[in-house]
């Protein structure tokens, strides 16, 4: 196989040879190559198979607009599908392969789809889904269900590895005065002008080199520009794509840090996702050359003219020997000249007749000619051309390459992200950016300027615009007029070929043909947005960078309208694909969300705790001894608490200091029960409602002093309650003198529970008198000292229903407290107990937690009616009995036993009446446990009408998910010690 690389051309480093593999065969390229240029140099024409028809596809472009050369890079867990070969830099050892083909892109069995084209026309998926008439008309989906798996396999692109991504990604942030997107002549001029005016500038370039389209010039050298930019202190970010513009001049960037490196340093992230907050944005993103639709315009060997120039002058690859260039504008002639100088035989077909181009006659110009059909299948054999007015076969040119230039589309994408609609420019046959009030200025060819001097002038004008808008200067400026060609462009989007069923591609990657667009129109899809979705035009990886305008022009013709009347589709971020890895950054695995641990976390683990996540918190779940299972362990722990004593880390509860002269009034307004008469040295359990009368949270508040309370909240609602209290004080009750401070992190808390808890504490406190039943009665609070002069707060609060104390010390003393308590608890055969045992103890007592208070439950539903004061108004009091909340068939908290006490059940079980087991039933079980005290399984939950209605009726627990069903007995939720004699002991 002969190389297409030619001597004396290109900016590649020929001293540095890189080897790479394509479809498991080894090839060589040079440093500075892209995968595309290296494939072309090695004469590899077919690099992919198309989406629906599996037609062979080659390399169409030299940049981000590529819609043919989508390949898979890497293998195993580093397999990266749908990579544009045109932007993938070559490195030593790169593994690449073609996709969407079996066994390979050269010989693909699914190529048969090419001959079944009419079944794959526009709307194919929708129609299949609707059923095939007349057999299945309107009846549906059976045929779709049958064929789906085959279709999905046949129509697709590369596949992901399915393995965890081994690479790291990073989120990074920066600020600047001005961010310039694009390092072509306009962007560079803008950046230099701005830096000279003392602005802090970031220059972003998606390519590995700065220069923009100048990199396609044979005499371009960017080293001087680079020096100048660096000397001015401009931050240059290459291999970085500005993929989206957002509110307030925020720009999203994707920096590809190691995608071009053979063996990257493992300490460097693969990609960085940047959020840049700028004061002004200048976009010099360039323009994208369009192709032309005509029959077989996708045969490998078709390329844009500008791409061919890139391959020649940047990579030293002459992409064809007998080249036909088809165009409608002036931009191709320099390329034509250079290609012929490099040794190609070049013919230019220019659809225009009225123009004069000075050439050295090294290539032929056919005025008024257009291409209408390519002959060949895997490569170009010849091109049928004709006079542009009437297409009938007039002439065939033998050639191996067809280069197309149907005009240029300014890259207005980023501005479109801000909702700014571009306007159609008839003179230049393209959309131009509209003005915006936001601090965004478009410069260079992305505002329709086709020559370099105009681009430079626009860059300087752009910076002047920025300085004016930022209030730094007030200087007049003007932008050069769009255009810059000597002879006007003549619109040319499609060359129609009379032969039936031509395949003129508008969107290469999604195989959308001109016939598809016409079919969509016949079927009534008139709006551009509908057309786009029905045909999938412009919805592939390239997002219609090349084909969109052709599609619009066809629609305009069908509707008898002009292009601007048809409208344009809205471009949305990202400009080019952004990997999910970059979006998630470091927030993966353990770092998916923050991890909160209590100050005695390590102590708990050292003492055998198995941990469980509760919200963000890691809490002890159970403390197994030897070979105990979870259930062995929690049953032992719960029994020990009821028998002697247990210690449980309750630090994760929210803790709020409420201080100030109006604290009592404040609490009295936010809790449903009365707080006005709570004495200093006492705590009270309280329930907070939302404005709409539903229960928000429950907890206790301890009156430490006249104007000071210590409030605890549930673990899950701690942050919400804190915000809520702040909201009330700062927005609603601004005359209350109250301050709230979160002290959740400041205090470490344990519950010491069980009949021996006071005896344990007696040995731990400095003065055991303070915790006698007299001095510290049920719900009493005291501030005292643990042995070793450790100040602490103790309240006699019970969640387990036993005699129990909550002890809080400053977080730094958590381990000391645990050592002290544990040492003494062991003397009474006590235990450490975790969340599972805590759950068992509270279910036995019918205490509600987040599983019950799920945001739908009223205070009455939760069986806590007596917690709703009738003597005062409070948040939610007006609404708690509104409308449906007063219905008497609401689900009320009850306890459940399995009728057969040997049976078990699960939380989530639906409660039904015996002969009516369906739907949502009449209730649900929310929490279950084995009750060591009762010796069987128990649960709490809700049932319509509550205990009174069902206490003598057997109900059914339906658990269809686990395929279980059991008879249930409804009981009081207070299953143990209903009078609370133990707590008061």
């Amino acid at each position: 196989m002969k190389t297409r690389r030619i001597d004396n051309y290109g900016k590649i480093n020929r001293d540095k040879i890189l080897s790479f593999s394509w479809d498991k065969k080894n090839y060589k390229g040079f440093e500075g190559d892209t995968l595309a240029s290296a494939l072309l140099a090695n004469n590899i024409g077919i690099v992919g198979r198309s989406f629906k028809y599996h037609r062979p596809r080659g390399i169409f472009s030299s940049g981000v607009e590529e819609s043919g050369a989508l390949v898979t890079i890497g293998s195993k867990d580093r397999r990266d599908p749908n990579v544009r070969a045109t932007t993938q830099e070559l490195y030593n050892g790169l593994e690449a392969s073609g996709q969407n083909a079996f066994p390979n892109v050269n010989f693909d069995l699914a190529g048969i789809n090419n001959y079944l084209g009419r079944f794959f026309a526009a709307g194919f998926y929708y129609k299949t889904f609707m059923g095939i008439p007349p057999f299945e008309w309107g009846r549906g989906t059976a045929i779709w269900m049958f064929f789906e798996k085959f279709i999905r396999k046949a129509a697709g692109m590369g596949s992901a590895s399915g393995l965890p991504d081994p690479d790291t990604y990073e989120h990074a942030h920066d600020f600047c005065d001005l961010i310039v997107v694009g390092s072509g002549p306009a962007g560079v001029a803008a950046a230099i002008e701005a830096a000279e005016k003392k602005l802090d500038v970031i220059l972003v370039e998606q390519d590995s080199l700065i220069g923009g389209n100048q990199l396609a010039e044979n005499d371009f050298d960017n080293s001087q520009i680079k020096n100048q930019l660096e000397n001015l202190g401009i931050k240059i970010m290459t291999r970085t794509t500005a993929f989206g513009l957002y509110d307030n001049c925020v720009v999203g960037l994707l920096e590809r840090v190691t995608d071009h490196i053979s063996e990257p340093n493992v300490n460097i992230p693969r990609q960085r996702f940047w959020t840049i907050r700028a004061k002004h944005i200048i976009v010099g993103a360039g323009a994208i050359e369009r192709h032309i639709a005509f029959n077989n315009n996708d045969i490998p060997g078709v390329m844009t003219v500008n791409a061919s120039k890139h391959y020649l002058n940047r990579y030293g690859v002459l992409t064809g020997k007998r080249i036909v260039i088809a165009t409608n504008n002036d931009s191709v002639y320099e390329t034509a000249h250079q290609l012929s100088e490099a040794g190609a035989n070049v013919t230019v077909l220019d659809s225009r007749t009225n123009f004069e181009i000075e050439t050295n006659k090294s290539f032929e110009i056919r005025k008024g000619y257009v291409p209408y059909n390519i002959n060949g299948s895997k490569k170009i054999d010849s091109l049928d051309i004709s006079k542009s007015e009437i297409i009938n076969k007039s002439e065939t040119i033998n050639c191996d390459q067809v280069l197309l230039s149907g005009g240029w589309s300014p890259a207005v994408h980023l501005l479109s992200h801000r909702g700014v609609k571009p306007k159609w420019d008839y003179n230049n046959a393209c959309f131009l950016p509209s003005d915006t009030n936001e601090n965004i200025t478009m410069v260079g060819s992305s505002r329709g300027l086709w020559n370099k001097n105009d681009c430079i002038a626009s860059g300087i004008a752009g910076t002047t615009d920025a300085l004016n808008r930022l209030g730094i200067s007030k200087t007049n400026y003007f932008f050069p007029k769009p255009g810059g060609w000597k002879y006007p462009i003549q619109p040319l989007y499609e060359v129609k070929y009379k032969k039936s069923r031509s395949k003129s591609f508008v969107d290469y990657q999604h195989d959308v043909t001109t016939d598809d667009v016409r079919l969509a129109h016949r079927e009534g899809f008139i709006s551009v947005e509908h057309l786009k979705r029905y045909t999938t035009l412009g919805m592939a990886n390239d997002q219609g960078k090349m084909g969109n305008i052709i599609g619009l022009s066809l629609m305009a013709e069908l509707l008898n309208k002009e292009i601007p009347e048809v409208g344009t589709t809205v471009f949305r971020p990202p400009y080019t694909p952004v990997s999910i890895g970059a979006l998630s950054g470091r927030n993966v695995g353990k770092h998916f969300r923050p991890l909160r641990v209590t100050p005695m976390h390590q102590w708990n683990i050292d003492h055998g705790a198995k941990m469980i996540e509760v919200g963000l918190y890691q809490r002890p779940w159970y403390y197994p001894k030897e070979n105990e299972t979870l259930s062995d362990s929690y049953i032992r722990e719960a029994s020990t608490v009821r028998k002697t004593v247990g210690i449980c880390d309750v630090t994760s509860l929210g803790k709020i200091a409420v201080q100030g002269p109006d604290s009592t009034e404040f609490l009295n307004r936010i809790y449903s029960n009365g707080f006005s008469k709570l004495q200093v040295g006492k705590a009270r359990y309280g329930i907070m409602l939302r404005d709409d009368g539903i229960v928000m949270d429950d907890g206790t508040s301890w009156r430490l002093a006249e104007n000071e309370y210590f409030m605890t909240t549930s673990t899950g609602e701690a942050a919400k309650v804190m915000s809520w209290l702040e909201e009330l004080l700062q927005t609603r009750w601004t005359n209350l003198n109250v301050n709230v401070t979160s002290v959740s992190e400041q205090w470490a808390g344990v519950s010491v529970a069980g009949p021996k808890s006071r005896e344990v504490l007696n040995n731990c406190v400095d003065d055991s008198l303070v915790i006698t039943n007299n001095n510290l009665p049920f719900m009493g609070v005291t501030s005292t000292f643990l042995k070793g002069n450790i100040s602490c707060r103790i309240a006699r609060i019970s969640f387990s229903g036993e005699l129990a104390f909550e002890v809080y010390v400053k977080s730094d003393f958590a381990n000391t407290m645990m050592d002290l308590l544990w040492e003494n608890a062991k003397k009474y055969d006590g235990c450490l107990y975790g969340l599972e045992a805590l759950g068992a103890l509270r279910v036995e007592k019918g205490h509600v937690t987040a599983a019950e208070l799920d945001g739908r439950v009223t205070i009455d539903d939760a069986g806590l009616s007596k917690m709703a004061s009738t003597k005062k108004s409070y948040i939610g009091s007006a609404m708690r009995k509104r409308g449906v909340l007063k219905n008497n068939d609401r689900e009320i908290l009850v306890g459940f036993f399995p009728t057969n006490l040997k049976e078990t059940f699960n939380a989530g079980t639906i409660v039904c009446e015996k002969n009516n087991i369906k739907g949502q039933g009449i209730g649900r079980i929310t929490s279950v446990t084995y009750s060591p005290e009762l010796g069987h399984w128990i649960g709490i939950g809700f049932v319509k009408g509550g205990l009174d209605k069902w206490k003598d009726t057997t109900l059914v627990g339906a658990d269809p998910v686990r395929n279980k069903q059991m008879n249930l007995k409804v009981v009081s939720p207070h299953m143990i010690d209903p009078k609370g004699e133990r707590m008061y002991a």
């Binding site: 404005d691 709409d692 108004s873």
Partner: protein
Amino acid sequence: MIRINCPYCGERDHSEFSYGGDATINYPSLDASEKEWTEAIFFRKNIKGFQFETWHHSNGCRMWLVVERSTVTHEIKSVKPCHPNLQKVVENNK
């Protein structure tokens, strides 16, 4: 991204803040009728254009702020503390 110029902390990303709601509601007194409360908590205008809304600088200074923001463009015209006394302090320190 919306950037909010917190009177205490300076201009910060909206991800530091939590959205509250309509800042123009006068919540009725706690003993007001169900009807008044229904009006206050369930009925909201769907404004196209500038509206006053509360934001909580939850990952910052913890202050509740009144933000005058366009629902169309996200442009922010003003940011003030919700608490009237603090509003005055901020105003006087300008």
